[in-house]
């Protein structure tokens, strides 16, 4: 029987990793991630999880250790944040190119300088083109579930997956999380079967990732993209399986008050809760037909599904807790290009807010909705909550 436990986002990750029977954990401490691997190190030391915990001297090495372990057919996990993720960058490409289903938790933390430990999404969004799948989470329950779904999908398409949670707002804040028994998780997540090409055998040495001529390199890259496209279908199947075993619904995004919504706020991460609160209030007080689309899976990008739910709306506001410098909010730009093929497409407005962990309140969201209602012409960056 599952049970409810009041726990932080960080420890929700640890519990999910434990239940996923991960065999290799390698990590380097960094705020605000450290608690994830701290609890895991205790779980491993107490013998509750049959795993090897490899301490390393950097995040680059942590990912390298996961790559080595995964290449031998072991289920591998690491966690990091911000500068640590940036230091892993080279190895992120390797993990994806070598088609290794590593799952990593990244706690969204603003990049330095200036130094910060608070949340924004620039760290993980900088890694969108590495070939990793990415899931964003609003609650600690989603954090817990994403790890388990993550392994199930990653191991079928042979791609690594990054699950993303906000610094402090999720990572260090406790809320009730339904934790499942080992038997329940085992029912959903079988042991990893790496298959023929994915396992290193020392008695039959092969060359992995060797120098490949222009005559052949392209095909391997094509296969990475094809695996992402296949992952869309695998996600659909696994969201359904997950609901059957655990009773909770997941999808590429969450729709909130969307049925008759003319106006949609597209959001992600923990600030989605503030958005939902403000939207529910405006519906009740002013009868405004507004809804929320909370993005969860952004790699692979669910183009078809997004077009289906957003194509027929009057206006869309995208809230970005990130800046693609010299460009725009990343979620904003991605959504615009997703909608572009539609013949009739709503105007989309991009708002930047909450950078470096600056507080976002429901009142701020009401301001954004007000602003969107007044606008007709699409424009460049709209700033919210900066001293201008």
């Amino acid at each position: 029987m599952s049970f409810k436990k009041v726990t932080t986002g960080n420890h929700a990750v640890s519990y999910a990793v434990w239940s996923s029977r991960v065999q290799i954990i390698s990590a380097y401490p960094i705020t605000p991630q450290t608690q994830i691997v701290e609890l895991l190190s205790e779980i491993v030391a107490e013998g509750k999880l049959q795993a090897k915990f490899i301490t390393v001297e950097s995040e680059h090495s942590a990912m390298a250790a996961c790559i080595g372990a995964s290449a031998t057919g072991a289920r591998a996990f690491t966690a990091t944040s911000a500068q640590g993720l940036a230091l892993m960058h080279e190895m992120l490409h390797w993990a994806a190119g070598a088609r290794l289903p590593i799952v990593m938790a990244n706690v969204n933390r603003a990049m330095a300088p200036p130094w910060s430990v608070w949340t924004d999404q620039n760290d993980s969004l900088s890694q969108l083109t590495t070939g990793w799948m990415q899931i964003y989470n609003e609650s600690n329950q989603e954090v817990y579930d994403s790890v388990i779904i993550g392994y199930k999908v990653a191991e079928q398409v042979h791609l690594p997956l990054m699950t993303v949670l906000d610094a402090f707002i999720l990572s260090h804040t406790s809320e009730p999380v339904e934790i499942h028994t080992q038997e329940e998780v085992d029912e959903y997540l079988p042991p990893y079967d790496p298959g023929e090409y994915y396992t290193i055998k020392t008695e039959d040495p092969r060359g992995y990732g060797l120098l490949t001529m222009p005559s052949d390199y392209y095909e391997f890259r094509y296969k990475v993209q094809r695996a992402h496209e296949r992952a869309i279908e695998v996600f659909k199947k696994e969201f359904k399986n997950f609901e059957e075993v655990f009773g909770r619904k997941h999808w590429f995004f969450e729709e909130f008050m969307m049925d008759d919504a003319d106006y949609v706020i597209v959001t992600s991460g923990s600030l989605s809760s503030d958005v939902k609160y403000a939207v529910a209030k405006l519906r009740k007080e002013k009868g405004l037909k507004v809804g929320v689309l909370k993005m969860r899976v952004v790699r692979p990008y669910p183009f078809e599904e997004v077009r289906k739910v957003l194509g027929d709306r009057k206006k869309i506001a995208v809230i970005d807790r990130n800046i693609g410098f010299g460009y725009h909010g990343v979620f904003y730009e991605e959504l615009k290009s997703a909608l572009y093929p539609l013949e009739k497409r709503p105007p989309v407005f991009g708002y930047i807010i909450g950078i470096g962990g600056r507080d976002v309140t429901p009142a701020d969201i009401e301001d954004i909705i007000d602003d969107m209602l007044k606008r007709d012409e699409m424009t460049e960056i709209i700033w919210k909550g900066v001293r201008l």
Binding site: G97, A98, R99, H158, Y197, Y198, T202, D204, P205, R206, G207, Y208, G209, L210, T212, S215, D216, E219, F220, Y222, K223, A227
Partner: protein
């Protein structure tokens, strides 16, 4: 917009008689960038310009200062394996009386111990005492028919008697007084019964000890060794050889050093009696320095203060020993070799030079300086 006009990518077969590899379509490629055939043909050992050599002769800094060059790391390793009797035999190979030296030796071995740089030196003397007190006795050697007289029943004389019995010679020890090994009696740090036990050991080995023999008749002996409590002035210091080829002399004022001198002289006597050239044993070479120890692999552990150790304490203390220069099959080289070029044969590492690139990772990761890196060019 795929392009099916591209010519196929073709790779010739790696062996005669095999089909070439042909890639016409993306699905012909493996999903993962991996070679479809073995890489064993690629003998990467050809890239090497330095080679790791797994040595079997190196010693810790403890061995050289020991007057009897006891192979300390080797017996410590056997204690770790709980092969206590074998450990005692490693000591007896070079030091006949570990119960005595385990109490009175000034322990010059502990001074340069590489562990000192981490916390405290290993309590070598106490472990030696523990092993000596197990009372292991060895067999005398095959009889050679040669007779040796040893003049003086001091500790040097007894040590020489022990070794000459081990090598099969008949031994008679002549003591001018009426007490055997008088110079070590009445010491607070050496209980009378311990000394008696070690003297008994020499007798059990078959040496005869005659007391009150102030002026013995030495004419019937093939060789005579004078054991002294000072450095003899008229004999070679490393071999004990005197002007008379039949007569040898050894001694020192410090009892343990006198045992070392007696052992060297006894070896000369043995060489003389068996018709060999008299040649001293070479000093142990290949001392492991602190820079060759990988301290990262050793956790802090404080030195056992109790000098009369229990078995558990002896094993704990032996575990503190780095086993410098002595491969104890820890497997680090095997784990760290990035090219799988260390093979594990009979519980020991063996370098596969067909594939070893000479990166030297094993040399760095060997915690105890067993592996040397040698240039390929001479």
């Amino acid at each position: 917009m795929a392009d099916n006009k591209l010519p196929p990518s073709v790779y010739p077969p790696d062996e005669e008689g095999k089909e070439p590899l042909v890639f016409k379509h993306v699905d012909d490629y493996p999903e993962v960038p991996v070679t479809l055939t073995t890489m064993k043909f690629n003998k990467t050992g050809a890239w090497r310009n330095v080679r790791p050599v797994i040595t079997d002769h190196k010693v810790g800094p403890c061995v050289g200062p020991c007057p009897m060059w006891v192979l300390i790391p080797k017996f410590m390793d056997l204690v770790v394996q709980e092969r206590l009797e074998d450990a005692a035999r490693v000591i007896l190979e070079r030091n006949p009386f570990p119960s005595i030296t385990g109490r009175i030796c000034p322990a010059p071995c502990e001074k340069p111990c590489n562990r000192r740089k981490l916390d405290e030196p290993v309590a070598i003397r106490s472990v030696e005492r523990f092993l000596g007190d197990l009372g292991v006795i060895e067999e005398p050697g095959e009889p050679t028919g040669k007779k040796v007289a040893i003049v003086g029943s001091n500790i040097a004389g007894l040590a020489a008697a022990y070794y000459l019995r081990r090598w099969g010679h008949e031994v008679t020890v002549f003591e001018s007084g009426n007490v055997i090994c008088e110079h070590l009696r009445g010491r607070e740090d050496l209980p009378e019964e311990v000394l008696e036990r070690e003297i008994e050991k020499v007798k059990t080995m078959g040496a005869e000890i005659i007391t009150n023999a102030a002026d013995p008749d030495l004419s019937g002996f093939d060789a005579v060794l004078y054991a002294m409590t000072e450095v003899p002035k008229d004999a070679d210091k490393t071999t004990g050889v005197t002007d008379d080829p039949r007569i040898f002399k050894a001694g020192h004022t410090e009892p343990v050093r006198s045992m070392g001198a007696a052992k060297k002289a006894a070896l000369s006597v043995h060489q003389y009696l068996t018709g060999q050239e008299i040649k001293p044993e070479p000093r142990p070479s290949g001392v492991v320095t602190p820079s060759q120890v990988n301290y990262f692999h050793f956790p802090l552990a404080s030195r056992t203060k109790n000098e009369d150790m229990s078995k558990e304490e002896a094993i704990y203390e032996a575990n503190r020993c780095f086993s410098c220069g002595n491969c104890n099959s820890c497997g680090n080289c095997w784990v760290y070799c990035p090219d799988n070029a260390i093979q594990w044969v009979n519980d020991l590492p063996v370098v596969n030079y067909d594939y070893c690139k000479g990166c030297g990772v094993c040399v760095v990761e060997c915690p105890r300086g067993v592996i040397d890196l040698e240039p390929e060019w001479k």
